[in-house]
């Protein structure tokens, strides 16, 4: 796109700036719209699970204007900073949270080649940046100058740091099987029927997916792991002193990171933009046929991955309104005694499986990382050299 624009726009830097602005705008639009839609969906899902209707009146049917109405209410609220608070840090904290969960989407492919920045180690980048979201919570909790906030932030820090270990292990397993950390490549390797999805690659991967789900729920701090804002003990945890716009930024960050872990799960395990049925290749919607057809195919892929991500978020909501909140010792027990050993065992199992049966249950495409062709040659050379 940069090369395209530099042909038409005279100073190069305007073209570069426009490209960056378009990418940022698209991601921001996705994140903010997702937050608005999930706020509404959360109320509806909670209502249905608790045998009530949820919002019905704002905006006519289904209460679909509930989120804009909430947003207006939050914007109109007074921006309070408690007297005990550390002012600059208190004001900064929500933006730290939001910026990190926004930065996750920079390297997250949303369809074949629809990614703002192609990184060779995008899985690793995602995990690294997603782990930074906790800083906003820690800062907010400390800077509020309230004991509830401080306890909430401490719980959050302990929980997120400990759950990053099993989460990382679960992510490593599909990366190992794929042989690359590039999410675009991992997604494209799972094209075709749903049997090509990573989750059906081998039985270990199937279990890994469910471990990932549990760890992802804990790492984005959702119920039943929402100890940081346990309202029955800590008023509202790290959010106690926040109100109005800053509170809503924290909320947007939470929904954005929920969507991000769900999208990551769908790329790593559920085929990403490749549907259960290979409709796009049947209809000939690929870039080889025609650029416009390829674009339509990518658009379908985007709808596909978004559907999977939204489904994941709805499952998270379902869990939130179904399961009671865990105690802190139960949270840590689950991490240390179940998730980590299970993920490590699955790692060993998947490693053995790929060693013995290379293809897995389906005839998945062989991994084709950049050095694949040179690798076998160099291995042979190396062994000769060793002798």
């Amino acid at each position: 796109m940069t090369e395209f624009l530099t042909h038409y726009i005279e100073p190069d830097w305007i073209a570069h700036f426009l490209v960056a602005a378009v990418h940022c705008g698209l991601i921001l639009g996705l994140v903010v719209m997702a937050a608005a839609a999930f706020t509404w969906a959360e109320r509806k899902v909670a209502g249905r699970i608790q045998d009530r209707l949820g919002p019905t009146r704002v905006g006519g049917r289904f209460g679909w204007l509930q989120s804009p109405a909430d947003g207006l209410k939050l914007l109109a609220k007074e921006d309070l900073v408690p007297a005990e608070a550390d002012g600059p840090l208190f004001r900064l904290a929500p933006y730290v949270s939001f910026c990190t969960s926004f930065a996750v989407f920079v390297a997250l492919p949303l369809s074949n080649d629809w990614v703002a920045q192609r990184l060779d180690a995008s899985v690793f980048f995602l995990l690294a940046v997603a782990g930074l979201e906790v800083f906003g919570v820690i800062l907010g909790g400390y800077a509020s100058g309230s004991k509830w906030s401080l306890f909430g932030a401490m719980r959050e820090a302990a929980q997120v740091v400990s759950y990053e270990v099993p989460l990382g292990l679960c992510v490593v397993i599909p990366v190992m099987v794929a042989g690359t950390m590039n999410l675009v490549t991992i997604g494209n390797m799972q094209s075709g029927w749903f049997v090509n999805w990573m989750i059906f690659h081998d039985p270990f991967m199937f279990i890994t997916f469910w471990v990932y789900c549990a760890c992802a729920m804990a790492s984005v701090n959702r119920a039943p792991f929402d100890l940081a804002e346990a309202e029955s003990e800590l008023v509202a945890g790290f959010l106690t002193e926040y109100s109005g716009f800053r509170w809503s930024i924290f909320f947007m960050a939470e929904y954005a990171s929920m969507l991000a872990v769900c999208l990551l799960a769908s790329i790593l395990f559920l085929g990403g933009w490749n549907g259960p049925v290979p409709i796009t290749s049947w209809l000939g919607l690929t870039h080889d046929v025609h650029p416009v057809a390829g674009f339509v195919g990518d658009l379908l892929g985007f709808a596909n991955i978004l559907a999977k991500g939204v489904l994941g978020v709805i499952v998270m909501m379902w869990a939130r309104w179904t399961l009671p909140r865990l105690r802190i010792d139960q949270v840590l027990t689950m991490c240390l005694k179940y998730c980590i050993p299970l993920a490590a065992a699955m790692f060993l199992g998947a490693m053995g499986w790929t060693y013995v049966i290379r293809g897995g249950l389906s005839d998945m495409d062989e991994p084709t990382p950049v050095v694949q062709s040179g690798q076998s040659v160099s291995l042979a050379n190396h062994q000769e050299g060793g002798r």
Binding site: E10, P11, D12, W13, H16, D86, L89, R118, L119, D120, A121, F124, F125, L127, A128, V129, G131, L132, V134, F135, I138, L139, G141, Y142, A143, L150, A153, M154, A157, A158, V160, V161, E164, T180, M181, N182, P369, V370, V371, G374, Q375, V377, S378, L379, N381, H382, E384, G385, G386
Partner: protein, 214 residues
């Protein structure tokens, strides 16, 4: 209009951010602010890595230093920062000592950086200039196992034998760290049985002079 060198602009931006926050860590006397400035400084360093096309190293910097070490640091600061412990004033003597050490290191590093001819003007390869995707992670992993992707056509058997990889040293170091972690956890958490506490103190008292004699 002459093309702007964006690499230089962003390099300056990240470098100024990193150095500025690093100075702020030293100047500030509030321990929580110090932790926040340190986070910003290290994050700007990872920005420099991304700018250099080393996205794997940049992500590593974010994950280990910013996301791992500093989360623990901030956690510890939050637990202990109470009343008198929040302020840490740096004395005059410490300033002088720190300035001498830091200045000396700066002089050595600058001298080293400017003495190498090739480093004064970085070579702009077409890949770097066009900002293409550089495959950084896979060659790193291959190099770890002793396969140098950049020197595949090396035919000299002696040189080939030298490319043995770093997997074994890496494993040894990581097992070492694991042992240290478990040992630290044991020392911090272990509750000694009552009979060991009474005789254990005596035992230690007996051993100390013995060690001193040696």
């Amino acid at each position: 209009m002459e093309a702007i060198n964006w690499h230089s602009c962003f390099f300056l931006l990240f470098a100024i951010l990193s150095c500025g926050f690093a100075v702020a860590v030293a100047v500030s006397d509030n321990i929580v602010r110090m932790a926040v400035y340190l986070i910003a400084s290290l994050a700007a360093v990872s920005g420099l890595f991304f700018l250099a096309g080393a996205d794997f190293v940049g992500a590593m910097q974010l994950m280990i230093y910013v996301g791992g070490t500093l989360v623990l640091l901030a956690f510890g600061v939050m637990l202990t920062a109470r009343g008198p412990l929040v302020k840490i004033a740096t004395g005059g003597g410490q300033w002088v000592l720190g300035a001498m050490l830091g200045g000396g290191l700066l002089v050595i590093l600058l001298q080293a950086a400017f003495s190498v001819e090739a480093w004064q003007r970085p070579e702009v390869t077409p890949e770097v200039a066009q900002g293409e995707d550089l495959a950084t992670a896979a060659p790193l992993g291959m190099g770890m196992m002793g396969i140098r992707v950049d020197q595949l056509d090396e035919t000299d058997t002696v040189k080939r034998g030298g490319m043995s990889g770093y997997l074994l040293p890496f494993e040894i170091v990581s097992v070492h760290l694991l042992v240290a972690l478990i040992g630290a956890a044991y020392l911090a958490r272990a509750r000694r049985p009552a009979h060991l506490v009474q005789s254990g103190d005596g035992g230690k008292g007996d051993r100390r002079p013995e060690g001193g004699d040696r």
